[in-house]
């Protein structure tokens, strides 16, 4: 091997090494733990490995939380796309020279911690918070509407948190549409609405699908919003996993649930990769 090849490899090794030790190995470990069982003191017993924990994870007891996860993730994805599309469209069409800056500005709120953002929503949605204050002040309601600790609060919080995951791919897709094509469509359909519905929207559909998958996948694993903005009924898979790990300390069951969640998400990512090509996938960030 020439010295050049060795030097090239050296560029890799630190990164690969770090990921191997702190990403791959832990995952293998957690898989092994998921095959074990719990002893009386909360430790992990590995003498009789089996897939029992996975069977238990599929038990009816966990079904409501799984359904919740799917329900909230779906609602979040739809809402996020509905909110993001006009923003992305406006920036792309009317942003001009400041397009990228505007995009960055739109992303700025997400530079605060999840916990802070969720806490802010607690302030806004409380019985004597901003929304109820406005509704009451305008005379629309005589009593405060219970907004916090409901499904709605969880969805609102989640949508807010995952907006950037939707805005970016939507913006990229919308920005790619050639102005000349839109102008031609305007002529052919003799109206803005027709041009949009028949040309722009279909052309940006791949972006919408990308945004949907990129939002749905992390949304399923979320649990902070459900914990701080919801109630015991709104528990998602993530909440259960967290409780199993940190409170109940049933590591084998928690590990099995985690692994199942991960496989589910990897399946989603693979689907995305198949649909849109892996180059798209690995370069989705800035």
């Amino acid at each position: 091997m020439s010295s050049r090849r060795v030097g090239d490899l050296a560029l890799f090794m630190p990164g690969m090494g770090w990921l191997a030790v702190f990403f791959v190995v832990p995952l293998i470990m957690i898989f092994v733990v998921s095959l074990g069982s719990r002893d009386a003191y909360g430790g992990v017993v590995l003498d009789r490995l089996s897939f029992d924990n996975y069977l238990r994870a599929l038990a009816p007891a966990f079904l409501p939380t799984a359904l919740n996860s799917v329900k909230y993730a779906t609602a979040t994805t739809i809402l996020a796309i509905l909110v993001s599309y006009p923003i992305a469209y406006w920036i792309s069409r009317y942003g001009g020279r400041h397009k990228v800056l505007l995009l960055v500005l739109v992303m700025l709120p997400f530079w605060t911690s999840w916990v802070i953002r969720t806490y802010a929503w607690m302030i806004i949605l409380r019985d004597n918070g901003v929304i109820n204050g406005i509704l009451g002040g305008l005379g629309l309601t005589s009593e405060p509407i219970m907004l916090l600790n409901t499904d709605l609060a969880v969805i609102l919080g989640m949508t807010y948190g995952f907006l950037p995951f939707a805005i970016l791919p939507l913006y990229v897709a919308i920005d790619r549409v050639d102005e000349a094509v839109v102008a031609a469509a305007r002529d052919l359909y003799s109206s803005g609405r027709g041009a949009f519905l028949h040309v722009t929207l279909p052309l940006t559909m791949p972006g919408v699908i990308a945004a949907a998958i990129l939002t749905f996948i992390p949304a399923i694993g979320d649990f902070i919003n459900a914990e701080l903005l919801g109630n015991p009924e709104t528990a998602m898979i993530g909440n259960v996993i967290q409780r199993q790990f940190l409170v109940v300390r049933d590591y084998p069951t928690a590990a099995a649930l985690s692994f199942m969640l991960m496989v589910l998400i990897l399946a989603g990512v693979t689907l995305y990769g198949r649909l849109l090509g892996t180059e798209e996938l690995t370069s989705k960030a800035i």
Partner: protein
């Protein structure tokens, strides 16, 4: 186009502008509320209802030693993990962009995997690793964890930035007699510096704000997000709002500076 159609087109673009403005309000409202309530003098321990305006919270920023320690811990961990992750990640990105070899696509995908894995799985598996190896949980484990997920972000960001790099510049330097070391420091590095800067800022922000992975691997140590989370039930001191607003303003400033620098470089080129 008839008059009616022109009217509807104008109306549609107005509605779009209004919708976009409303969406912007939705985006900024929580930040605004957090900042606003940093000026609140709370009745009791929960800072959820507005009572009176005060500058007191900003003047007594360092009143709670646990909070100050948490902020310090967050900043330390972010700094160290950013430096390590940016270095490792940039090297890897350079290798991935420049050299064609058989497993390149596989490695691309491999580096991307941590980004697709739910944080809860990352955090829990790291906890398993540290407990098994009997490494005590604390700042060290947090740094190790933060570097791990940041490396992926840095690689993905740098790859995008590096793909437009003109190799002929390096070849020209070599032709003029520069050693590879000199070529790197005098030609390559200054050119990729903006990309490195952007990746570093991204990594720093992600580390500061990380909650899930941190919570699993912090042990007794508190970072800023962990502190806030633990205080949610008991009552969040208004100084937290002040710190959060400070972090946000710092980010805004950094981004503004970045944009200004870009514009100056563009005009200087002319």
């Amino acid at each position: 186009m008839g008059i009616a159609q022109r009217f509807f087109t104008a109306l549609a673009s107005r509605i779009l502008a209004v919708y976009a403005a409303l969406a912007l309000v939705y985006l900024l409202l929580p930040i605004f509320m957090v900042a606003l309530f940093s000026f609140n003098d709370p009745v009791g321990r929960s800072n959820y209802s507005w009572s009176t305006f005060t500058f007191d919270n900003w003047l007594t920023l360092f009143r709670d030693p646990t909070l100050v320690a948490a902020v310090g811990t967050s900043l330390r961990i972010a700094l160290v993990s950013t430096i390590i992750a940016t270095t490792i990640g940039t090297l890897m990105a350079m290798a991935l962009v420049r050299y064609r070899f058989r497993f390149r696509k596989a490695i691309d995908l491999f580096v991307f995997l941590p980004l697709a894995t739910p944080e809860i799985v990352l955090g829990a598996s790291l906890l398993t690793l540290f407990v098994t190896l009997q490494i005590p949980l604390g700042e060290l484990t947090l740094i190790l964890a933060h570097v791990m997920f940041n490396v992926s972000y840095v690689v993905v960001t740098m790859k995008a930035r590096l793909s437009g790099f003109d190799m002929r510049l390096e070849e020209a330097a070599a032709d003029l007699g520069a050693t590879p070391w000199q070529t790197f420091w005098r030609v390559t590095f200054p050119l990729i510096l903006p990309g490195i800067g952007a990746s570093a800022i991204l990594a720093f922000g992600l580390s500061l704000d990380d909650f899930v992975i941190t919570r699993f691997n912090a042990g007794q140590v508190q970072t800023f997000p962990v502190y806030v989370y633990l205080k949610v039930q008991k009552g969040i001191p208004p100084q937290v709002n002040a710190f959060a607003t400070l972090f946000f303003m710092a980010t805004v400033t950094l981004v503004a500076l970045g944009a200004l620098l870009q514009r100056r470089r563009a005009t200087l080129k002319q």
